[in-house]
């Protein structure tokens, strides 16, 4: 802590900023229908995250055994966790059809987050708004579609905008609030939560390890480099925890929204 503060106060130390999240294009400036196509490190990491999820599930369940071993055992724990601790707990038995989607989303978010602490990759995929907002839009479309399919357009709008058990003059207040909080704010909070956690984590790690490198010079400050490095190392473990927790929260909130759209009384 002290080390990083000293480093920030001394002239010559460049503190990491939000601009450090921009990667240069690796390809020439291709255009597709007028849209720029820029393949940079972020894009490669997204593709890698997708490939890791795909390959892990394919290998684990290619030849499923009655008595699972190794990787199959591990992946069954993941699926089991989503099924029992998220879907059955939050939605109930009618939500069992969502287990594959929720498992995939949770695993993709987790792999994308954990790229932030894997040596060599060291960049969380979800620290660019494009990925969390896309995942949140998928959740948004899914829970609205499920609600409309279950209750019909009129029934679903009535359920969302005019909650039962409210005296009618209160609808002047309640209806706009419900519309904003359910339809507009949900995808924003869902994506910003994941994005901000990943940006904050990446900035923390960057500042402590840059601080270590900066303080490691032949002077008295080299003593503080050890403190900076120790805290940075502890934060790597903390980031692993955050990566898992954010994947869990993203999945469980998707499940909560689905449960809200499926519920009959609400």
């Amino acid at each position: 802590m002290t080390g990083a503060l000293l480093a920030a106060a001394r002239p010559g130390f460049k503190t990491p900023t939000i601009e450090d999240f921009q990667w240069p294009c690796l390809t020439p400036n291709w255009k597709i229908f007028g849209f720029g196509l820029c393949v940079n490190r972020e894009v490669l990491l997204i593709l890698l995250a997708g490939a890791v999820v795909l390959v892990l599930f394919l290998i684990a369940f290619r030849n499923p055994q009655m008595i699972p071993t190794g990787l199959q055992n591990f992946m069954e724990v993941v699926v089991d966790f989503v099924r029992n601790a998220i879907v059955l707990e939050v939605i109930g038995h009618e939500g069992l059809g969502f287990v594959p989607y929720l498992t995939t989303v949770m695993f993709f978010v987790f792999v994308g987050n954990v790229f932030g602490i894997i040596p060599g990759l060291q960049f969380p995929v979800n620290s660019h708004m494009a990925i969390p907002i896309f995942l949140a839009m998928m959740t948004w479309v899914l829970f609205n579609a499920v609600g409309i399919r279950r209750h019909g357009w009129g029934g679903y709008s009535k359920m969302v905008l005019f909650p039962a058990g409210v005296p009618w003059p209160m609808y002047i207040l309640v209806t706009p609030i419900e519309f904003v909080s359910t339809i507009l704010v949900r995808p924003v909070t869902l994506s910003v939560r994941l994005l901000a956690n990943m940006i904050a984590g990446h900035l923390l790690l960057t500042i402590f390890f840059l601080g270590t490198a900066y303080l490691l010079q032949p002077s008295i400050t080299a003593l503080f480099a050890a403190a900076s490095f120790a805290l940075g190392t502890a934060l790597v473990a903390f980031e692993l925890f955050v990566a898992a927790l954010q994947a869990y929260i993203f999945t469980i909130l998707t499940a909560v929204y689905l449960a809200g759209a499926l519920s009959s009384e609400h």
Binding site: V90, T189, V192, L195, I252, L253
Partner: protein, 81 residues
């Protein structure tokens, strides 16, 4: 007293930009909220250990909602220079 606060805030603004101070203020409410939330959840888990799984799920949902407010402050600290 007012002078001290004025000097302190002037010094703070010299070191950090306003948006960072704003983020600090934005973190107070969610900090209190998560403290209460988890404290109450642990209390009820200790009182009724058989309901721990259900309480933990709901605790995380609540944390997710409360935490979003602090993170909005964090993001706005970057957007508003």
């Amino acid at each position: 007293m007012g002078d001290v606060i004025g000097m302190l805030s002037a010094g703070l603004l010299a070191v950090a930009s306003t948006s960072v101070v704003g983020y600090g203020i934005a973190a107070i409410g969610p900090g209190l909220g998560i403290g209460f939330l988890v404290g109450k959840a642990v209390e009820s888990m200790a009182r009724q250990p058989e309901a721990a799984a259900m309480i933990r799920t709901n605790m995380f949902i609540g944390i997710g909602f409360v935490e979003a407010l602090a993170l909005f402050g964090f993001v706005l600290a970057f957007i508003a220079k």
